[in-house]
């Protein structure tokens, strides 16, 4: 049984999982902080 596809699949799953987590966390942070700042500037 060739091992390369299993290794590639493992690294791909990890890469996709971490990328999703990083991008979604960063965007959520930027959105929430922008909303908070916008609200603070309102009289």
């Amino acid at each position: 049984m060739p091992h390369a596809p299993f290794i590639i699949a493992s690294f791909a799953v990890t890469g996709v999982g971490i990328s999703w987590l990083l991008i979604s966390s960063y965007l959520a942070m930027r959105r929430a902080e922008a909303s908070a700042d916008e609200l603070r500037q309102q009289p």
Partner: protein, 193 residues
């Protein structure tokens, strides 16, 4: 094992962070309930999703590793089952903390759940000793390591890198929660006028 041993560089850090994440939730929950530190609940909640993701990555990469090594994708042995239980505990914790009325903060029920769920961490750790398991015994112990140096050093580098990434993720999610709490507080004040 052949070349599949390279999966160790993603599987082991994911397992470490899945378990370490819940340990962090339990410690933060104790601090929240005993000392009522305002950031404890926020940090526990910020750990939950990254912890669940790493537990899932650990389960999936372990399953992919098991197919060429054991000849099967999954076996219901102590280590795999207790890790799956950890993943479900994370899902339960996320649901409980999202149900909290205070946006950003964590409810006391979720904190108690976080402490009780920590019972599973030593079970995962000792499972390969207590029960017959397909999963190999611990390769790195306080007494030394059975892993070859050529793999051991990159493994430590990988674990350190993943841990820093986890820390950054938790800090980002804490900043999100704090910003949401500021929004909610501001909206309440505006509604009072």
């Amino acid at each position: 094992m052949g070349d599949t041993v390279k999966i160790i560089f993603v599987h082991v850090p994911a397992a470490w962070l899945g378990m370490g994440g819940w340990t962090g939730i339990a410690i933060a929950s104790i601090i929240q309930l005993v000392w009522r530190h305002p950031l404890a609940g926020v940090s526990a909640r910020a750990i939950a999703v990254p912890g669940a993701t790493f537990a899932a990555i650990c389960l999936i990469t372990g399953s992919i590793w098991g197919r060429p090594t054991w000849g099967t994708w999954w076996v219901w042995d102590g280590r795999l089952t207790s890790m799956l239980v950890l993943f479900f505990l994370y899902l339960g914790y996320i649901a409980l903390s999202n149900a909290s009325s205070e946006k950003g903060d964590t409810s006391r029920v979720a904190a108690v759940f976080g402490i009780i769920g920590a019972v599973n961490i030593p079970i995962i750790n000792r499972s390969v000793v207590w029960w017959e398991s397909q999963h190999q015994k611990a390769s790195i112990t306080l007494g030394g390591s059975s892993i070859d140096q050529a793999y051991l050093v990159p493994l430590f580098v990988s674990v350190a890198g993943f841990s820093l990434l986890f820390g950054a993720l938790v800090l980002m999610r804490m900043r999100t929660a704090l910003a949401e709490m500021r929004i909610e507080a501001r909206m309440r004040r505006m509604a009072d006028y």
